[in-house]
Subunit: 170 residues, 2 copies
């Protein structure tokens, strides 16, 4: 993650259609360099993909909510988490889910077509017997839409990943 990598990520995030050749021109480096850097960034997992970003709102799901689920503690261990995870994975409206610190909790982000529809989605989620309790918060407004880029640029001084210092600007 040297400076060129950062500028590259910044550029492609800002103008995704710039292309390899365009980027090489913009950043004043050889085309092969851009290609190699991108390949390495993908290989290292920094760039996870080039899929288009989709908007749940535009797809007809303007309501976002976060569910905190309390999972029944199985005496056997964590069978509960995985089972519930699988359950959630089968519900399209569940866009994200994490296990969290606390009493075996799960945090899930769900969307729905309306507040009424949200009830349906919640019911779907709660249909699993391993879920003991749940609480819901509805997202009213988005202060900060999902972003990652600031990490890249604000990074400049820090150690940044397990960056083997690259051989370019010494």
């Amino acid at each position: 993650m040297d400076d060129l990598d950062r500028r590259l990520l910044d550029l492609f995030s800002t103008e995704p259609h710039i292309g390899v050749l365009g980027a090489s021109r913009r950043l004043q480096v050889a085309r092969g360099t851009v290609q190699a850097r991108l390949d390495r960034l993908e290989g290292r997992g920094v760039i996870t993909g080039w899929a288009p970003s989709l908007s749940p709102e535009a797809l007809g799901y303007p309501v976002t909510a976060f569910l905190t689920l309390e999972i029944r503690q199985d005496p056997d261990g964590d069978g509960g988490h995985d089972a519930v995870g699988e359950h959630l994975r089968a519900i399209p409206e569940v866009l994200e889910a994490h296990t969290t610190t606390g009493t075996g909790d799960l945090l899930a982000r769900v969307v729905a077509r309306s507040n009424t529809d949200l009830q349906r989605v919640i019911d779907l989620v709660l249909r699993h017997t391993a879920i003991q309790r749940s609480s819901t918060v509805i997202a009213l407004a988005t202060q900060i839409p999902h972003r990652v880029l600031p990490l890249v640029t604000a990074d400049a001084g820090a150690a940044g990943a397990q960056a083997q210092p690259r051989a370019s600007e010494s």
Copy 2:
């Protein structure tokens, strides 16, 4: 959002490098159609962009946490929300933030380089005087990574957005 749109989104999400021409071949439609559909999908806001997806983990921020912030109720109104929103926006580690139902609450997703570093980030966040109380949950494991695509495909029967029925399969 007819079936072609869905297949298009599915295809480009799965194989982003397929390109317009490739997609037209794969879906057995004219190149111009693919181009027009993509343009319309972007225009309608369904596709919000083509930026590469970045991984905070790979960038050196493997720790994710969710902060629930309680905002001091200003007598004047909601000056608190926007002010805090701005405050958060200036912190690169805050990847997302929503106001939520409840007592003027804010839900923020933050990342950090380590659990120790998380303390620093939290301190940064709490530095704002309008924040009364906060609670933190750390994401231990990701059951479901962020996804939107299921909404598209699972949608098949439903009304889907404000879809004017398109003129193709009647």
